[in-house]
């Protein structure tokens, strides 16, 4: 299942894109889009599957609710940190060790806003967005955070 959604409630002035998708993504492509002559700072968070002895990871979402929540977070962050653009891509499905899980790219005029906005989005994503990760080991499996 792939769900693509350009942000449906864009923050005035901020360019936003939110995707929840089984496809891998290309950080470079998004970073290039985030660059603009109004922004002097682009901060990127890339989350990948860390080798904690696991064989693979499965990511599941409540896609409609997750997109709506990400969209809210995106607008909150753009307002609060005065961001020029916000891009969020979260992958779904079976992922191997080293695979990309999530990409957050924000741009702003200055570095503090860009760092603050990117880190805020990640924390909110982890605590509010209905997405779950299950780690699969050779000897068993467990849902992360439960």
């Amino acid at each position: 299942m792939e769900t693509r959604s350009p942000s449906f409630r864009p923050c005035p002035g901020a360019e936003t894109l939110i995707e929840i998708t089984e496809d891998d993504f290309c950080p470079q492509e998004i970073i290039e889009r985030a660059k603009s002559t109004a922004a002097g700072a682009v901060v990127t968070f890339l989350g990948t599957v860390r080798d904690d002895g696991l064989r693979e990871m499965v990511v599941e979402a409540y896609p409609e609710a997750a997109l709506a929540e990400l969209d809210k977070i995106c607008n909150e962050a753009a307002d609060r940190f005065g961001l020029t653009s916000v891009y969020i891509i979260h992958r779904l499905g079976r992922l191997a060790v080293g695979d990309n899980i999530v990409l957050i790219v924000v741009s702003a005029a200055h570095r503090r806003e860009a760092f603050g906005g990117c880190s805020f989005i990640l924390e909110e994503l982890k605590s509010r967005v209905p997405i779950w990760k299950k780690e699969i080991f050779d000897g068993g499996e467990r849902w992360v955070g439960t």
Binding site: H90, I131, W132, W143
Partner: protein, 91 residues
């Protein structure tokens, strides 16, 4: 009335990802949960404590809006979508 139930993560593994329950009109959220508990004993023991109260970690949404514990007696309407899931862990 028909209520669409969506379950995620560990609860999806117990209940299936999507089911439709046929409940008496004006059934409450609590009554929907009771019906789910009676469908699956593992969900019952994972989601409820011994006194029958929903455990704190279980999260609910109605039509994609979070429901808090004060809303358990809220009446549902035909076509409502209720989601039940454990704490999120994206990112």
């Amino acid at each position: 009335m028909k209520i669409k139930v969506r379950a995620f993560a560990s609860f999806r593994e117990m209940l299936g990802s999507e089911l439709e329950l046929d409940l008496p009109d004006e059934s409450s959220v609590q009554e929907l949960l009771d019906a789910l508990a009676s469908l699956n004993p593992r969900f019952c023991s994972e989601a409820f404590d011994r006194s029958g109260l929903l455990k704190d970690y279980v999260l609910l949404m109605k039509n994609r809006k979070r429901l808090d514990r004060d809303s358990m007696n809220q009446a549902l309407e035909d076509g409502d979508e209720v989601a039940v899931f454990p704490p999120v862990s994206g990112g």
